[in-house]
């Protein structure tokens, strides 16, 4: 973004935001690793993608590079599709398990 000089206050605020978002990413990775059910992992992946989109937004303010905003739009789209696909896969596997159990009993 041309012609935008940041004040000192805004720079500190952006750095604090990036720090908070990065800590949040680490915490979500904990849930991604230990999540007992696959649904927990899907929830963690969803939150991770939302956090990455937020990091891209904060980076746009921090660096003044407009291209990060386009990356954020494209990544939000792809992440939504990925979440939908994973959730549908989980549901279909659950239904298939139910049917197999019903056939065996």
């Amino acid at each position: 973004m041309t012609g935008m000089e940041q004040s000192f206050f805004l720079e500190i605020a952006t750095q604090v935001t990036l720090l908070l978002l990065t800590l949040g990413l680490c915490l979500s990775f904990i849930r991604l690793v230990i999540g007992p059910d696959p649904a927990d992992r899907i929830v963690a992946l969803d939150l991770i993608s939302v956090l990455i989109v937020a990091i891209l937004g904060a980076l746009t303010v921090y660096s003044g590079e407009k291209a990060f905003l386009d990356v954020a739009i494209a990544y939000a789209l792809i992440a939504f599709l990925g979440t939908v696909a994973l959730a549908r896969l989980r549901e279909r596997l659950a239904k298939r398990n139910d049917k197999e159990r019903g056939d065996n009993s």
């Binding site: 973004m1 605020a13 990036l18 939504f80 139910d98 019903g102």
Partner: protein
């Protein structure tokens, strides 16, 4: 002035996103965790992009930032609904203090076509959860 508003929106959004990820680690069960992740996460990143829309002076960038906010608010409920449905259909363990489970008595809710199996599970669930 613009800088101060942008900085406030960024920090508030960052705090909301951080609270969402604390919630996803600390909360006790999948559906409750989903509540933290999808609502607070979408609110946090939406606030960050609102701050970006305030910050940028080029109208194209502002419009794109607002488009990201709109898209996040559009897709977060859909994704949350699908994940919740998948989690409930795969019978994740509910929290031990959960006492309202309105679909516990609705058999074959996920339409697997196995009514007898589900009837038995419904009765087991009814016997197990004495809340109602």
């Amino acid at each position: 002035m613009t800088d101060i508003i942008t900085a406030l929106l960024l920090i508030i959004g960052g705090i909301f996103a951080f609270v969402a990820s604390v919630g996803i680690v600390r909360l006790p069960d999948t559906l409750i965790r989903m509540h933290a992740a999808t609502k607070a996460g979408a609110l946090g990143s939406g606030l960050i992009f609102l701050g970006l829309a305030f910050f940028s002076q080029a109208p194209g960038t502002t419009l794109r930032a607002l488009a990201v906010v709109f898209f996040l608010l559009l897709t977060a409920p859909v994704a949350a609904h699908l994940i919740g449905r998948a989690a409930y259909c795969s019978r994740v363990n509910l929290w031990h203090k959960t006492w309202i489970d309105e679909f516990a008595n609705v058999c074959d809710w996920c339409q697997t076509g196995q009514k007898s199996d589900h009837d038995e599970e419904c009765r087991l669930k009814e016997a197990g959860g004495d809340g109602q």
